[in-house]
């Protein structure tokens, strides 16, 4: 027995507070559902596969102190040393550390001397050990060979002949085609042959719209500073990290050597997203809490106001559960009205968010989940007062006011 019709009559006669709570719920739903999709998008972004064995990798920055330092010679010697260290799986040289928010990019074309319609991509200068060191997966073609490596001074301009690219970049620049053997041009007439495709590498910038477009070239240049990546055996990264600086300094003391684990770079790259998730979660929780307080307050107020009525109803035969149910159903009616208004508001707000702030589109599933959440919050808030109302004695009916 739901008493819907008399309940609606009673609500109608107390419509202002009921409507205010409805509106509060509506506003909460509109805000929370839009917050939730932003949080969802950020979490998906943070959780994207990087394609890289992040947890096993240590990045080393080597800066030579002497001005005329032979970096090319040092790279060979360092690589020999690093690759022979116990618990080290492999090591590679690179101009930039992946996922570090620092890197270089270029525009590549499919035709010689093409100037428009290119595809942007991260570019890394590295050596044949990069696939094994980063833990990438070669899905087509082949890796570089040592004979394809080019070592040269930054003042020289040399044409690079081969590249390994990511699958994403391959699909973007040669959609629906086998990229192996196809040329890349970087604005001139010299073709760079695509010799291999790796499954995934997120590149330098996690926020970049083209993140995942990456090309690797077999180049090491004689610069003043260079980066190495060392991959430890699983679980041995921290152990390897302890001795790295010491071993490299021992080999050649004329450098400043800094190490940092790759996961730290990744954490920094996603710091903004993580903060956004936290802040928005707190906002959503606070908002839900405030609306819950409002409902608790209103329900308690109504119950106190209607204590006599409750007593009378009990005297006339209402059981405790009749009374609790009345308030819970009444609360649900208010909540459902709020949810209806809130869903409409959420979709309208979302249209602006999508259009003006490139936020994700609010679909039915997250909206329904948020609506359910709002209903649960509302019912939970009303539950304690409603149960308390059931304890009002039927003898209240015979008490003179």
């Amino acid at each position: 027995m739901l008493e819907l019709q008399p309940m609606l009559s009673a609500l109608w006669r107390n419509k202002v507070p009921a409507l205010l709570i409805s509106l509060q719920l509506a506003l909460t739903l509109a805000i929370i559902s839009n917050i939730v999709i932003i949080i969802q998008e950020r979490i998906e972004k943070i959780g994207r596969p990087t394609g890289i064995a992040v947890e096993e990798i240590i990045a080393i920055n080597v800066m030579a102190i002497p001005q005329d330092y032979d970096m090319i010679g040092a790279i060979s010697a360092d690589m020999d040393l690093l690759r022979k260290l116990p618990l080290v799986k492999d090591a590679t040289v690179t101009n930039q550390v992946p996922l570090s928010q620092s890197g270089s990019a270029g525009t590549f074309y499919t035709q010689p001397n093409q100037k428009v319609g290119g595809e942007n991509s991260n570019r890394y200068n590295t050596d044949p050990n990069f696939i094994n060191t980063l833990g990438l997966k070669l899905v087509a073609g082949r890796n570089f060979t040592n004979t394809e490596m080019q070592y040269y001074d930054p003042s020289e301009i040399r044409d690079v002949n081969v590249a390994v690219i990511t699958q994403q970049f391959a699909e973007n620049i040669y959609p629906g085609q086998d990229p192996i053997g196809k040329p890349l041009y970087d604005g001139d007439s010299h073709p760079i042959e695509i010799i291999g495709v790796v499954e995934r590498h997120l590149g330098a910038w996690v926020d970049w719209s083209k993140a995942g477009n990456v090309a690797f070239f077999p180049i090491a240049r004689n610069t003043q500073d260079i980066n190495y990546l060392v991959r430890a055996e699983p679980g041995k990264r921290d152990e390897v990290l302890k001795t790295l600086v010491e071993k490299l300094s021992e080999r050649d003391p004329q450098r400043v050597i800094k190490t940092r684990i790759l996961s730290e770079y990744v954490a920094r790259s996603y710091a903004g997203d993580n903060l956004m998730v936290k802040v928005l979660s707190i906002v959503a929780a606070t908002l839900s809490f405030i609306v819950a307080l409002g409902i608790v307050g209103l329900t308690i107020f109504w119950i106190n106001q209607r204590a006599k009525q409750i007593g009378v109803k009990r005297a006339l035969g209402a059981t405790r559960s009749n009374i609790s149910r009345y308030f819970l159903v009444e609360n649900s009616l208010i909540a459902v009205t709020g949810i209806a208004l809130g869903s409409a508001a959420a979709l309208i707000v979302n249209q602006y968010m999508v259009r003006d702030y490139s936020q994700p589109v609010l679909t039915l599933v997250p909206l329904s989940i948020c609506a359910l959440l709002v209903l649960v919050v509302s019912l939970t808030a009303a539950l304690a007062p409603a149960l308390r109302a059931a304890n009002i004695s039927p003898a209240t009916a015979t008490r003179s006011v």
């Binding site: 009525q309 009378v312 009749n322 015979t398």
Partner: protein, 233 residues
Amino acid sequence: MLKMHNVRKSFRTDTIETHALRDFSLEVKEGEFVSVTGPSGSGKTTFLNIAGLLETPTGGQYLLDSEDVSNLNDRQRSRLRNEKIGFIFQGFNLIPDLNLFDNIDVPLRYRGFNAKERRKRIEKVLEQVGLSARAKHLPAQLSGGQQQRVAIARALAGEPRFLLADEPTGNLDSLMARQVMELLEFINEWGTTIVMVTHDPELARRAHRNIQIVDGQVCDLRTLTEQPEAATA
């Protein structure tokens, strides 16, 4: 109909225990119209609450319709109140947000009657109390006497065997009080047992029997049916 034997009711606060009813024994027969009087704080309301199953006695035995109801649980008492007992309160206790029709509907919904049955009963009792034309009015739009008639209609709609009235005319002027009293007498003539708590000695005398409660006990029993002049007062 109603039989109380050595019923006790005490209220305990932190420091003192108050005995509202002590060794209270009383029998009301089927079809009787009994008035209950007594000074303030004598235990009239406590008696009414226990008789109406609104409170449980601390001790003793209470038989309603030959059924021992002293130790029923809350749900069973709710059901009995709903089915067997009609209540008329001093303050009418109509629900201000509901119109007359919906007010009378309240106990019928708890009874679980279907909509058709409820409508039939509501229309019938509204007719009996002469307020059919006002079914859609809110209580606040009626006079006190009319409100009490609605409350009586609400009590009658479930066709209770037993009507408990708590100062039914306490808030009414003498003309309206007389109308309400006549209505109660009419109801009683049709077979409903009535127990009425009142301050008004004149009304008390119109009942078949008056019970005086003093200090939580039945003090004096006088049969008033032999005094016909009282009935016309």
